[in-house]
Amino acid sequence: MINIKNLNFTYAKKQQPLFNELDCELNAGSIVGLLGKNGAGKTTLLKLMIGLLSPTEGFVDVIGHEPAKRQPSLLEDIFFVSEEFDIPGISINNFVKANSGFYPRFDLELLQRLIKDFELPETKSLQKLSYGQKKKFLISFALATKCRILVLDEPTNGLDIPSKSIFRRVLAGSLDEDQLVIISTHQVKDVENLIDRILMLEKGKFIMQKDLFDISSQLNFITTSSTEGENILYSEMVPGGYRAITPQVNGNSSVDIELLFNAISADNEKLKEYVQ
């Protein structure tokens, strides 16, 4: 669905390239988490995928289109919810009337259900909603478009705790098999149990591209009272003991994405053979 080959990108000729020879392939039917530290280039990569920026070298192919051309046949299949957004001062009904026609698969019933799930109030002006409510409306609208590619940049920023859980529930429950969701976030806890593939960006490269299933079949995430005597690849002190990563020996365990992220960011040599 999204195919990136030898992607190089730099904002200005004299600057260091932000991305160097990036390669990646993302397929329909999955929710991909794009993780990375602040400034790693997560939002830039998303913009390259949806055509808001053009690659310096290499190519990006999205459903058979070159996104930088911004052809309507591709744009009607992509919805982008950016971290900071602009929303017109009109009612929800008018927003739907003005924008839904651009998306051939728009599902009004789904939108009404999501608005109810998110407990969004009736309003004459979307401007009067809080930042979190506006974001919940945009996420609902994005899901209701049924676009084949949904790109969400820091979707949980500004959401309260119950809304984060509703977000995970509605996202998992509203998607079709032919849809791909890319979520860029540095709040990895918010998307745990939601994403099924991780892309981790650092210093212009993907330092990890793996399905969660593969990770959980290779690595075990445990809480232990001591780091001695165990085959521990990485550990972090937590109240009451340690959270640790060990090689998987029997079956699967649920992946602690934050711990994994910290371990890989710490350039842990032992883990490299498991995740690359």
Partner: protein, 264 residues
């Protein structure tokens, strides 16, 4: 939705989206425009012993209002490009660059050349009839035929086509320049920018003057058929008319390319 270049359905949806998103702004702006016209016409009439406005006043005010408000409105073209967030929304709307460009051009020029004159005509008459209450002289309505009843001077009757082309292209350029500016820049121009542009224009005008007068280029008497060095009025209208038409086209092309290449 087959064509990626132009589709009437999508083009229509851009209008629908624009008018739903901006209905309040359009309504308030129209009320403000009508209000300003009404007040100014009233002040002028009071200053002229309450004598009702005639067709000459109508023409003068019409040109003044349409030029001032039209340039302001054209300069506010592509309003979504004024901020990063709204630019993202705008670029991601599933419509082609050509559709977005034409929508902006048609709506800006349509409002300037159709809606603003119609609103002016309505307000002019409302004000005229309203003022009849306070004066013994009666207001005479202005018809469309009277407004466009110009007498072309005898000297330029032979070159009327090029004369009209030159004037209408110059008027268009007045609107096309701010329109293109709206596509190119995120912010309104600063005073220092306008000053720099004025200096550049004065410099080139000075160069042309030096070439024509002190260096004597104006004394050459070239063949009538030479386009680039006109020797009579017709030639001058033809040359400058063509130049301004070309300038308009180049400016519109620049606006289109800027929109097409926009990144955020």
């Amino acid at each position: 939705m087959s064509s990626n270049t132009f589709n009437f359905n999508r083009f229509g949806m851009l209008f629908k989206q624009h008018f739903i998103h901006n209905n309040k702004l359009l309504m308030y702006s129209s009320v403000a425009y009508v209000g300003v016209i009404f007040i100014l016409l009233t002040i002028v009439q009071m200053g002229q012993d309450r004598v009702p406005h005639d067709v000459e006043m109508f023409r003068g005010f019409l040109i003044g209002f349409v030029v001032v408000f039209g340039i302001l409105y054209a300069g506010y073209s592509f309003p979504a490009l004024r901020s990063k967030e709204s630019t993202i929304n705008y670029l991601m709307v599933p419509a082609s660059v050509l559709e977005k460009f034409l929508f902006e051009l048609v709506s800006r020029l349509g409002v300037t050349f159709i809606l603003l004159p119609i609103l002016f005509w309505i307000t002019f008459h409302l004000q005229g009839y309203f003022f009849d209450l306070f004066t013994e002289l009666s207001f005479r309505p202005i018809g469309f035929a009277e407004v466009v009843d110009f007498q072309v001077p005898d000297q330029i009757r032979d070159s009327a086509f090029w004369f009209v082309t030159l004037i209408s292209s110059l008027i268009m350029l007045g609107f096309v320049l701010p329109f293109t500016g709206g596509a190119m820049f995120m912010k309104q121009p600063l005073v220092k920018t306008l000053f720099s542009v004025a200096i550049i224009v004065i410099f080139y005008a000075g160069c042309v003057y030096i070439a024509l007068e002190p260096l004597g280029v104006a004394k050459y008497n070239p063949n009538d058929t030479m386009w680039l060095i006109p020797s009579n009025e017709k030639g001058a209208f033809r040359f400058f008319g063509s130049a301004v038409v070309l300038t308009n086209l180049v400016m519109l092309f620049v606006a289109f390319r800027k929109l097409k290449e926009r990144e955020v």
